[in-house]
Point group: C2
Chain length 487, copies 2
């Protein structure tokens, strides 16, 4: 061939793509631009490699790829040539100017993943730097060694998750939270969000009545709303959610976060727990107990889970590994009443069948080896210290906030004076790079204003410095208010 | 203390659980059985370690775990003692006989994971032994090194997947299948099943009309049925799906597998493709193009994707890594028309937010490094040989089956004589350990009987031997039929 395509190909070793990929893309562009027309022979791999000063193997691999994609065809007589059966459609479609002899290039963003760390004081964020990733990776290797390539296969009947993980979790939940269950009732989900979605679609119909804590968890609210259910906001006080005392009160479903109400932090008292369980048994309502961060307690031992108090099988227990391990793992779980297992499985199998298995097998190893407990212990210690730092900084700086519930969890809600506008506060903080959602953002009805601080992901110094900026923002505003002439 | 709990504790180094876990469980059982009553002191870690002949560290870790779970409490004066605030509920709930002094044990199944390899001739199964797992693991390490702990965090705005993977896939699909898209249109899903579920819920209402290939893919059918949509079966012939020629024919959604119709294997002809795209443009119908195994072609180059032929933005393209890489990875993808991106994101975020990120970052590395293409090439070569073996074995053994579509994919449908009952055939084969689904199982209406063989997961010898067993089953039956006296 007369034209030497090598003169039109520019490869760049600093690019994110391999030389092989760059070469394959360039060759396709040359085909699309008709520099290499259908039926034309392409240079031998030896020639092209020489022209481009790259290894011959790279050229062979790029050619192989183009053969596979139908751009090139091998011929015993002529070597490799551009496929004549390439349709006009493929040739004209790829958005390149047709007759151009200079080859346009896809522009890739370099270093384009702007993955962020949580900004102070974003709620519900674990400090993933505490996570023993190297140990996790060893457990992954161990799981792959134990199960071999079997772990890569499609496995029927794993819709509810990897059996050894379900068993291990059942034991953990029985022991640590008193949850009454057999492992067949434990289902692994893609985060707790998927459990909420699935339960919403199993248990609710349009116009179903869902009682939920107000303020409450938005992920849950959105799941109920998708079904067309009606939301019944339930107030929170120091003893947690307070169902209306009216005996005629009814709901198909009650959603609650009893260990530490999200976002206020109130703990559901034992007497309220017992009456909630009694309500469910009496009215045949479902209760969803979202125990999202019960692992993090810094002083007194936890109250028993609602599920452990229930003898009528109406409490559904949900938990998550997002906070105990790391969020991007996307593993949550739900303990289902036996009566729901079959329907739940059927819906899950249509929804996405099941989640990735290697992670599930790894997690089972991680728990069985005791690493799970050590990590909880280590995180709890670190977070307990951070909680102290947080409270000390806030009280030293005389923030105009009161923090009534400071005994656990990952977040602290600071209540503002009732005349304040918490969204305005939150927006102002956001403008100086501080992320503290307004309590009213989580509310269905007007609520006492407040700000929801997370404290677990931030080291002592970050907390202290960020707290000073929060204090300055509050002071600046008060000065501004005072200095503002009334006209 | 007088009683030495060590005499009641039996640890077993051969068990799946670590000694620490076994010890923690045993101690809890002793508490629950009141051998260690609330307020009682527990032995020092040194004493207990000595009695049990285990390391003191193991005891300390088990104690730490029980402190964390509220069973034990440290006291400056008395060392460690059983928590007095443990409620009766926790004590009585765990299913143990209360006053027993011998400790009952949880019975764990040993080696209980019966992970199976696919049985011949299960359809749609890649041979995961071909997968370069070591290389994949290196790419995972590389991804973790590039992004560090950022990859473990919750990341907002990743509902549609990890950006570098979405970009890489957009390039791959543009180049290999002519798919017209910007990377913002590419969404990563938990297998292609989740894409089907999400699209069903976005695009269909009860009584919506869905035209789908008959016989067709069950995972898709189940997704449509969940919405209450009405299914309109569309026949298949040698040119693939044949929409009714009646100009008044309408459907909100058409589902098709044009590259290789599942399960028959027919390829949608170019003229049918063009008229399908024209139908969608004219009637404003959506088309879902499920390109589930287009990577596996053994002779002629692929026809352009439907999506590449469409200029009205009505074709939604779906693909999967389950067959190209490995099924338990659970990564699929969908290329959305720009008009659907926002709604799709909103539904996905309520459903489960997003899938695990480490796998997605690993896959992006795997593709960028060229390993993806090498693996496709290697698999294609192996599967091409297996296809030959399959066809040779079937024809040598004179199976009473005709295989009209043998140019690609992972499955071959063998049509039976129209008087045969394919379910009865399939059941009989199942009884001798051969798994070949009946074609009628995939059908909405009575269909020509057939059997759907997968050939990709089985080595030459397995195929040859299994085929002999299939042939024997057919012969046995015919002999049986002949020998049966007519009475």
């Amino acid at each position: 061939m007369s034209k030497r395509p090598a003169t039109l190909i520019v490869l760049d070793r600093n690019k994110r793509e391999s030389l092989q990929t760059q070469l394959a893309v360039s060759l396709k562009e040359l085909v699309q631009a008709r520099v290499l027309a259908p039926g034309a022979a392409v240079p031998s791999s030896r020639d092209l490699a020489g022209d481009l000063r790259i290894s011959r193997n790279t050229v062979i691999q790029a050619y192989d790829r183009l053969i596979g994609e139908g751009y090139l065809e091998p011929s015993a007589r002529r070597g490799l040539f551009v496929s004549e059966s390439l349709t006009e459609k493929i040739l004209s479609r790829t958005g390149l100017s047709n007759a151009s002899t200079t080859v346009s290039r896809f522009v890739f963003q370099q270093n384009s993943e702007k993955l962020g760390m949580p900004v102070p004081f974003r709620p519900c964020q674990p400090d993933v730097r505490l996570f023993p990733l190297a140990l996790w990776n060893r457990m992954r290797t161990r799981a792959l060694r134990s199960y071999g390539t079997h772990l890569l296969h499609y496995q029927s009947e794993l819709t509810l998750g990897f059996p050894s993980l379900r068993r291990t979790l059942a034991t953990y939940l029985r022991e640590s939270r008193g949850v009454q269950c057999d492992w067949h009732q434990v289902a692994i989900t893609t985060g707790s969000q998927q459990a909420l979605y699935l339960l919403a679609h199993l248990l609710l119909r349009p116009e179903s009545r869902v009682a939920m804590e107000d303020p409450g968890y938005l992920g849950a609210r959105f799941a109920w709303q998708r079904t067309g259910a009606r939301l019944i906001p339930v107030s929170i006080d120091a003893e947690g959610m307070r169902l209306p005392p009216d005996k005629r009160f009814s709901a198909e479903l009650v959603y609650t976060t009893p260990s530490r109400q999200f976002p206020t932090g109130a703990c559901l008292s034992l007497s309220r727990r017992l009456s909630l369980v009694e309500f469910a048994a009496r009215t045949n309502a479902w209760i969803i107990e979202d125990d999202y961060d019960s692992e993090f307690r810094y002083s007194r031992p936890p109250l028993p889970s609602l599920q452990s108090l229930d003898s009528s099988g109406r409490v559904i227990y949900i938990g998550s590994m997002s906070k105990v391990l790391f969020p991007s793992l996307r593993i949550g779980y739900v303990v289902l009443p036996a009566s729901l297992v079959q329907e739940f499985t059927a819906l899950r199998s249509v929804l996405d069948d099941h989640g990735p298995l290697i992670d599930q097998a790894t997690l089972a190893q991680f728990i069985d080896a005791g690493a799970f407990y050590s990590h909880i212990r280590r995180s709890r210690r670190a977070y307990g210290e951070r909680l102290q730092t947080f409270i000390e900084s806030a009280s030293k700086l005389l923030l105009p906030l009161s923090f009534p519930y400071i005994d656990g969890g990952m977040n602290l809600t600071g209540f503002l004076d009732s005349t304040e506008d918490d969204r305005e506060c939150s927006d102002r903080l956001k403008s100086i790079g501080i992320e503290i959602p307004a309590l009213s953002q989580y509310s269905l009805r007007p609520t006492r204003p407040g700000l929801v601080f997370g404290f677990t992901a931030f080291e002592q110094r970050t907390t202290q410095e960020s707290m000073k900026r929060v204090a300055l923002a509050f002071q600046g505003r008060r000065k501004g208010h005072r200095g503002e002439p009334a006209h």
